[in-house]
Amino acid sequence: MVTGREDRIVNGVVYALLLLVAVVSVFPLLFVLSASLTPYSEVLRNGGYVVLPSEFTLDAYRALLAEPAIPRALGVTVFITVVGTAINMVLTTLMAYPLSRRELPGRSAVLFMLLFTMMFSAGLIPTYLIVKATGLVDTIWAMIIPSAVGVFNVLIMKTFFDHLPQELIESARIDGAGEFRILVRIVLPLARPVMLTLGLFYAVGHWNEIFHAILYIRDQDLYPLQIVVRNIFLRSQSIENVDAAALPTVTMQMAAVVIAAVPMIVIYPFIQKHFQKGVLLGSVKS
């Protein structure tokens, strides 16, 4: 073949660069993990953090979990992830299903109303005033209710429903089944993939929640994990007095990062397939 040489070179370059991408994606996480396990003696000896310290310690994790802030923040984050995702899914489904029914009068008006919020939003301050007026400020619900439905996710689910076999729904209706029954008994069992994908998207969003907490939460007892971890970086002095002396600040900070990241990284390999599907579903739409 004429192109044999070029082929080999291209392949070589492609494999090398892909390996580089893999290393660049993973190495920072491993480095953070190693830093979170590094005792003070090592930092002193090496003049900083190294990729592979010769001694490890779990003290930073012990110290962090002994602080009331982290376990409490974990509780808050788990709560908003579970309850928030449940609310998201119920409301999203209840919007997507009627909107997938072409014969519904007023359907396009509702769709426009949804799309318009994607293009124009009132902004932080007026939204804050409404959240305050509805009594959510400084309650855990401020991190759940103001983001109860994602327009984009409604559209993804609606698109999925659009492509379900209409005859099934039609025949169920002729058999006298009500809409709720059709949704629960016929549509939802067929919609498992999209439900899983969107549920995971919502859940990741809640786990990583910081935006609403920045805006609406002043009560420290209600801080979600991400805020508490961030504050460890800001006020590294105050947390150091726990077990401190033997623990450098950065080790603590990195341990906090690992605590916040680990659940995501552990479940990621199992769920990544669904995410990929989800982004493609979404892009077909736009």
């Binding site: 192109t3 991408v21 996480l29 409301l91 999203t92 109860a148 805006l215 900070q253």
Partner: protein, 327 residues
């Protein structure tokens, strides 16, 4: 003349005929809507959500034209005099130019560094003939997308921290002075954009890769017959084949250029770098919720929202030219 849907029954009473005749289309419409009542019932909770948390704030925007007073509330607060007082205050303040420059630059850098590397990575995936390798690298490179900005910030600190960061230790090893990347106005934006690129490198490649997979394999076959090597195939078939997708995504992201990423900037920045890091959203947050100057913050937010709306509509117009649509 019989009403729509009214049976032509001779036994109809006069009263019924009168009721059915002129308003028939309207009644028929309501009757039709009534048949769908359970679907509307399903929509109701969602509609209430949108009305309260998306549309009511649009009404609340009027505080941009009022001297908002926390005690009086949205309706009772007096109108600002003149009505454009807060807009004027913003446009004539030194912040205006700085915020626009920062927002625009951070967005533009992110646009470039969030497009080209992803495109290159998608090409690499597309050219990779070893399936397991491609799968593995794909899986690994998508993962950072799901990490929160706080985690990405922590990772960044591990590398660039002035006292202990890996990069500064390397610099010291080379005999150079350590650099406070996160507190340096020269470096901050680079770090910000670099972290953004790292987070979404693999994720951003997905859509380009999907477009590449859709290219007709016969075209590669034909090129091969003509003696085109791999590089020429990439240049003459792959890239032109996804040209529309590239342009479409670029234009759509251009429409959102005023969103430079509140969460990331908020998590990454500090007082020392406000002059290069402060974007419209972070400024609005500080002025509104920290200094409690609600009217000024709302005015700036409204300015951003209206400009953003215009940009999105323009972007969509442009995108339509390349055969794509936002709605």
């Amino acid at each position: 003349m019989t009403g729509v849907g009214a049976p032509p029954a001779p036994a109809q009473t006069p009263a019924q005929a009168v009721a059915a005749a002129p308003p028939a289309p309207r009644r028929a419409r309501w009757a039709r809507a009534w048949r769908f009542r359970s679907l509307y019932l399903m929509l109701l909770p969602g509609l209430i959500y949108f009305a309260v948390y998306k549309y009511a704030p649009m009404y609340g925007v009027i505080i941009a034209f009022k001297d908002y007073n926390l005690g009086l509330g949205i309706v009772a607060s007096p109108w600002a005099d003149p009505w454009f007082k807060y807009f004027d205050q913003f446009f004539s303040s030194p912040y205006f130019g700085q915020l626009m420059v920062n927002t625009f630059l951070i967005s533009a850098y992110k646009l470039f560094w969030g497009t080209v590397p992803c495109l290159v990575l998608a090409l690499l995936f597309n050219e990779c003939r070893v399936t397991w390798l491609r799968r593995w690298v794909q899986t690994i490179s998508y993962m950072p997308h799901f990490l929160s900005w706080v985690i990405v910030f922590g990772i960044t600190v591990a590398f660039v921290s002035q006292s202990t960061g890996l990069i500064n230790r390397g610099l010291e090893g080379l005999g150079a002075e350590p650099i406070g990347f996160l507190t340096s106005t020269d470096w901050f934006r680079t770090i910000l954009v670099g972290a953004d690129t790292w987070k979404d490198l693999g994720w951003g490649a997905i859509i380009y890769l999907a477009a590449m997979v859709g290219i007709d394999p016969e075209r590669y076959e034909a090129a091969r017959v003509d003696g085109a090597g791999r590089l020429r195939q990439i240049w003459h078939i792959t890239l032109p084949g996804i040209r529309n997708v590239i342009i479409l995504l670029f234009v759509l992201r251009l429409g959102n250029i005023l969103d430079a990423g509140f969460e990331q900037v908020y998590v990454f920045y500090n007082v020392q770098v406000y002059s290069v890091a402060d974007i419209i959203d972070t400024w609005v947050y500080r002025v509104g919720l920290e200094q409690l100057n609600f009217s000024l913050a709302a005015a700036v937010g409204l300015f951003k929202a209206v400009t953003g709306l215009v940009l999105i509509i323009l972007a969509n117009r442009l995108a339509k030219r390349w055969d794509g649509q936002l709605w």
